[in-house]
């Protein structure tokens, strides 16, 4: 086990609010580590609507999710936050000295007096098709059963693989696994795909060569043997006719959805999957744990990015007192404080 990272603040979620929290905390000389299950910053802004314009960011009449993320990253660059992408915040434990230890599913341990939960609606996780009993076939490993991601292509060598979906992941893995799988079948609810055109062309080429079978169909049922291993599926075609398809592995690719996830197990007071906070500090009922952005709740809450920015600013003031109990906090403006301007790297 590696030694835990010591910092001032651990932020869960690198969406716009988590990123702006780095700025507000940074102005007060508080150092941050951010954890996000996605492999890049921006949260919902970059995962769900990178190209869609946002019209209600003060001072930016029109900005896309990706542009806003890029601008926030530029704004917080001087503060040297550390990012832990592709990791899910999994456990939170109070240490004897009053600090918190946050552990991720990758084994990273971050020790800090302040935890800021800026996790939006929770973690982005793969969508699970509503097929009865699908959970029982998950996490079997070795290229059998149900998989929502491909970690090692080799595990599918020599296997009968069934892929469902019409997006880039479905098409990319169809193309990549076809040469090594024993057989590869793709099913989708229509004879058309939202995936990139060149991927679609490649898939059609493989279909012509007989290396990929494609059906307009959907998976209705999973069939297992007496040991609970996946044997096949029941497919239903466009004409509602059903048939049995034998397969070792089933890979559904329907993108991501948001689930609260392990935050529910942190022992925090939750109300309808949200964390109630006070509106002076944006602290939860557990001292030292703050919640900002879409994940918190209070009277009059609006799930807006601009509200999250305000929450981050007030949270930072309160977090300072937790991190530096013996220091006095002097409120300063970036426009007039040469001290703040030095931190931002804008003074000569």
């Amino acid at each position: 086990m590696s030694t835990p990272i010591e910092t001032d603040v651990a932020i869960i979620g690198a969406g716009p609010i988590g990123l702006f929290a780095v700025f507000e905390l940074g102005l007060l000389d508080l150092k941050c580590h951010l954890v996000d299950i996605l492999d890049r910053p921006g949260g919902q802004c970059t995962e769900l609507y990178p190209e869609k314009p946002i019209y209600d960011i003060p001072g930016l009449p029109i900005v896309t999710g990706q542009e806003l993320t890029n601008k926030l990253l530029e704004q917080i660059k001087p503060f040297g936050a550390q990012y832990h992408f592709g990791e899910m915040a999994q456990a939170l434990k109070k240490l004897p000295d009053g600090k918190w230890k946050l552990t991720t599913d990758a084994g990273t341990e971050i020790v800090a007096p302040v935890i800021v939960i800026a996790a939006g609606g929770g973690s982005f996780v793969p969508k699970r098709p509503p097929v009865p009993g699908i959970e029982a076939f998950e996490n079997k490993g070795n290229g059998v059963g149900v998989h929502y991601a491909v970690r090692k292509m080799e595990t599918f060598r020599g296997k009968n693989v069934l892929i469902a979906g019409g997006g880039d992941s479905a098409l990319d893995w169809t193309i990549n696994l076809a040469p090594i799988a024993k057989s590869l079948t793709l099913v989708h609810h229509r004879d058309g795909f939202r995936a990139a055109q060149h991927s679609v062309n490649q898939m059609r080429e493989l279909e012509k060569e007989g290396k990929v079978k494609f059906h307009v169909a959907s998976v209705k049922q999973l069939l297992g043997d007496e040991n609970g291993n996946l044997m096949g599926v029941t497919l239903s075609g466009a004409d509602k006719k059903e048939w049995t398809h034998e397969t070792d592995a089933f890979l559904p690719f329907f993108g991501l959805t948001i689930k609260l996830g392990p935050i529910a197990e942190f022992g925090l007071n939750l109300h309808e999957n949200l964390i109630p906070v006070d509106t002076a500090k944006f602290e939860s009922s557990t001292p030292g744990i703050f919640a900002i952005g879409d994940i918190n709740s209070y009277a009059g809450k609006l799930k807006l990015i601009l509200s999250g920015f305000h929450e981050a600013a007030l949270m930072a003031q309160a977090a300072f007192h937790v991190c530096r109990p013996n220091e006095k906090l002097r409120f300063q403006y970036t426009t007039s404080s040469s001290n703040l301007q030095k931190k931002l790297g804008v003074t000569a």
Binding site: Q44, Y49, K127, A238, T257
Partner: protein, 103 residues
């Protein structure tokens, strides 16, 4: 105008629509379990509904963006599946029947 919506346990709700609002917004505000993670930007497919009883044909057809986005929805039924953020309330669809699709 009214929207007749069946939730995931089969309970029927009659909800008052508002001209110019999306069916997603009306159903969500009425407390039906519509995630609508992207907030109505046709970017997440978590407001998927089945349009029932011949109402599908009465709607303006889905845009290319919606057809693409439905590729990310679960349990899509051709001829029934729509994203409710893309159905706009208006008098012509008074009484529309929808069922919230599985999660």
């Amino acid at each position: 105008m009214k929207i007749v919506a069946t939730d995931r346990v089969g309970k029927e709700h009659v909800v008052e629509g508002r001209d110019g609002w999306s069916v997603m917004e009306i159903l969500r505000d009425a407390g039906l379990p519509i995630a609508a993670e992207c907030g109505g930007a046709c970017a997440c497919a978590t407001c998927h509904v089945y349009v029932e009883d011949g109402w599908y044909e009465k709607l303006s057809p889905p845009s290319d963006a919606e057809i693409d986005m439905l590729d990310m929805a679960l349990a899509v039924e051709p001829g029934r599946s729509r994203l409710s953020c893309q159905i706009v309330c208006k008098n012509e669809i008074d009484g529309i029947k929808v069922t919230v699709a599985p999660e």
